[in-house]
Amino acid sequence: MYNIPKFLSKAALVGLVQLCCAAGDAQASWNNPYPQSDHASNVFFSSFRERPKHLDPARSYSSDEYVFVAQIYEPPLQYHYLERPYMLVPLVSDGMPSIRYVDAAGQETLHDLPSGQVAYTVYEFRVKQGVRYQPHPALATRDDGRYRFHDLGPGDLGDIHSLADFGFNGTRELTAEDFVYQIKRIADPRRHSPISGLMAQYIVGFDELRSSLERTLEDTSSDSFVDLRDYTLTGAEVLDRHTYRIRIQGKYPQFLFWQAMPFFAPMPWEAEKFYSQPGMAARNITLDWYPVGTGPFYLAENNPNLRMVMRRNPYFRGEAFPADGSPDDIGLGLLADAGRIMPFVDRAVYSLEKESIPRWNKFLQGYFDDSGIGSDSFDQAVTFTGQGEAVLTENMSERGMSLSTSVETSTYYMGFNMLDDVIGGDGDSARKLRRAISIAVDFEEFISIFANGRGVAAQGPVPPGIFGARSGEAGINPYVYDWVDGRPVRKSLEDALGLMIEAGYAGGIDQSSGESLSLHFEAVSRGPDDKARLNWMRKQFKKLGIQLIVRSTDYNRFREKMLKGTGEIFFWGWNADYPDPENFLFLLYGPNAKAKHNGENASNYQNPQFDRLFMEVKNMDNGPQRQALIDEMVDVARRDAPWIWGFHPKKFSLHHGWVHNIKPNTMANNTLKYIRIDPQLREASTAAWNQPVLWPVWIAAGLLGLSLIPAVVSYRRRERVTAR
């Protein structure tokens, strides 16, 4: 470890020298957090707010983690970067997989069958040849072909603190077996994969493999290496070196979307063998922290407490920038790099920045290439035109910054617990009460006050941009909005009050008991900032004479109430896993009810018609027939109003003028490879923006010196007087 006093004195000396050198260099920026040479290099600088929890693709399932995981691991498919609506295209799969359906009689067909007739669906993936893994010690071999670091003894890890300390790296070609190995890892109980339960419903033999592994693990240490190649998964088999097949129960078209997520990225068995050796976990050298992928980047520095650095993978096969996009993309210059080989940047440096103020200021200083916009900085960055369009403020535009906006594939809603005696249930009174509240709670105002206008009031569960969502008059919720002058206008309060009378709650008084109506809002209180939001909520209910009682609690208790179905009204949200209406409509599917089945249907809504339609829609391909059924489902849900449909948030992001090829893509996570930087422009801009200002320092020093004069005079005078 360090010799601290020596280290500090050395650091102080070098720092002073650095400052002196920087003072002599007119172009140097003293506040540059990176080495000066880095800023002129082909490096992308950004930040991350939360330390990633897991980098194992079998387990990783949050956007904080995908920032890194998706650049390193490559699943078979990916989303097209420019095309909209979102479209799947091959990544390491050599073309899209072939799909065959098997009926109950065992007959295979390449033609689509109605879901009821499909016993199994078979996906056959052909893997691109010549794809190689990043350099990694797990793949390093000796001259005789044996793995160099697969049989480490107790003393071999003495000086090893990170992967770089091993000194030797190796690579090998990607094979079909690596994909099958990863699917088996999802079944491994030690990996705690969040999609294990879901995949068990579909992949043939998944449950059997999981049970078999559980039995094995009862007799072995949890850290020991279990070679999954020795275990059979009947639903995933290797056909040849570059072909594998997955067989799933029935028909599940969304399965292909999962193939674009890191869960299904290939994993070499050598990695598991390497990381399972004794002493590795005690040094935090685990597969959960040191990925092994085929992607355009590899993790060169893994310090989640400070900085994550990804470097260009020297064995990356190269991938051409997409050549097809919309006419708008051409106008925005997004096809300027069409056909050029990616990735464009050599390195990406992500610094941990937990607090919003330093993060924002570093972006303004040019030390982060991109940034989101916090509520505190919103007015500084964005202004709205008379037509309601968000544009950058003059100051930002002058600095060459750009703003990109997109409606996220997410929904935030206020849910009613349908199991509740007052607000829930299928009765006419409760339904009208819910509809009245849906009108009264003005989400346009909510978006304006609490989200700086960054959102679109929702008309149903499916966000714009996802198949099934309709625009214009056909897309409005007729129970809450009217179509007036070409735009949706929220129904009047009188309409809501009328519904209250019909529901038996005229003026907010329960006509049967004569008592005023009180409802309970289950709030997760995070601090004083929530007070304004909760007060606003109370006011919305007050419009109908309803007293809203806020039950603030922590997130654990809130979750418990949801699981038990004891909450009454709550606010929640959902981010899409994939761009398919099924991923939103399933939030209202009866058998997914949270209280009964621990599913994602938090309002415990159950409607036989909706559920029947869902089962049909779920397995259909997009087309007019599917659209018609979705329309019917959405209409049922709007009529029953289990949610106040809330809003779909809009993502606002900023980037500097030296960052190119930015197009918001809320589904794709592997977007770093598309980004191109102009390092010369960045260096010139940051140098101009960050020249040290020294005159206040000299003035302060002068004032301090002047203030000492009377003290010194007084001291001398005192020293001369005789004792009293």
Binding site: Q18, P189, P194, S196, G197, K362, L694
Partner: protein, 325 residues
């Protein structure tokens, strides 16, 4: 002295057990093992089976404090409390709930904390003593009056204000230092300047007032009067006699802080992006990672006890009238 030390170390054991038990109770009042599992596994698509598997693999499947299904000692030993606690007393912190080795993390993160805390303490003490001596020298003059007022103002201002104000002034307006961040080795220096300066300024008010009180107390003593009567200059009286005698409370006050320097500062580290133990503790709390919280509370308690012990020893060393029995 050795008997005294052994006795104090033995006293520490029930204190540490108590602290550990209290941490346990407080944490499990708010979080059940199911909550811990859910916070680690996330909210999406988590099945009950996955929760049970996670709890089993992380040792949270047993009763918290008392196991009614066991006999004899098993009632106590086959519990989460016993299994998680016993290793702590061997300083084996185990793995965090997210799977990282806590001992390794602590060994990595204590140095950045120390890199801020140590210069802040040493330079701060030096500056505070200088100011306090200056004010004591000019006692009952306008310098004393305004010095005290400035000290009261400085100690009334929140640390957060110093941090945000310092970042705004020195980094955003004057562009003199990076606004936040950290680096290893000698490159750390430019990142340490601002937090250290802010730490020193933030501590001037409290420190100067405290030291001033100590100096004024000493100045009233007979030996000072004697020194003056001998014709010594006021500066010599202050620096040679008053300062030396006042060092006893100052030194013992500092010694108690020394072990805790490793624990870092919660707010400063968070705002300046310093990967120290302060931000590690905050992360553990925010993520409901019980293993980290428990380890850090335990470590804090041990270091505090060590600090108190060192204080007693330093008393005996610097003041011959004190003996430890």
């Amino acid at each position: 002295m050795s008997a005294y030390l052994i006795r104090r170390i033995l006293y520490a054991i029930p204190i540490l057990i108590g602290v550990n038990l209290l941490t346990f109770v407080l944490f499990f009042v708010v979080n059940s093992p199911d909550d811990i599992a859910r916070s680690q596994l996330g909210d999406r698509r988590v099945t009950e089976e996955a929760i049970q598997t996670w709890k089993k693999s992380h040792g949270y499947h047993k009763p918290v404090v008392l196991n009614d299904n066991e006999e004899g000692f098993g009632k106590i030993t086959q519990t989460i409390f016993f299994e998680k606690s016993i290793r702590l007393f061997l300083f084996d912190f185990g793995q965090s709930d997210s799977g990282r080795d806590i001992g390794h993390d602590i060994s990595q993160r204590m140095w950045p904390s120390l890199a801020i805390a140590l210069p802040t303490l040493l330079l701060g003490v030096l500056l505070n003593i200088t100011f306090a001596l200056l004010i004591a020298f000019f006692r009952a003059t306008y310098i004393d009056f305004w010095g005290v007022i400035i000290c009261v103002i400085l100690l009334s201002v929140s640390t957060l204000f110093y941090i945000i104000g310092g970042q705004f002034l020195f980094s955003k307006l004057l562009h003199l230092v990076p606004i936040s961040g950290y680096d290893t080795g000698i490159d750390a220096f430019k990142f340490l300047i601002l937090p250290v300066i802010i730490g020193i300024i933030g501590g001037i008010g409290t420190g100067t007032r405290w030291y001033r009180t100590i100096f004024l107390e000493e100045i009233e003593k007979d030996y000072v009067r004697t020194a003056r009567a001998k014709g010594l200059r006021e500066g010599r009286v202050l620096f040679r006699h008053v300062l030396r005698n006042a060092l006893i409370p100052i030194l013992t006050g500092i010694v108690v802080l020394l072990p805790l320097l490793f624990m870092g500062s919660l707010i400063t580290e968070s705002f300046f992006g310093i990967p120290g133990l302060g931000s590690y503790t905050i992360e553990g709390i925010q993520r409901q990672d019980f293993a980290i919280v428990r380890a850090m509370v335990f470590l804090g308690s041990v270091l505090y006890i060590v600090g108190l012990l060192l204080t007693d020893i330093s008393y005996a060393l610097v003041d011959p009238r004190v003996s430890l029995r």
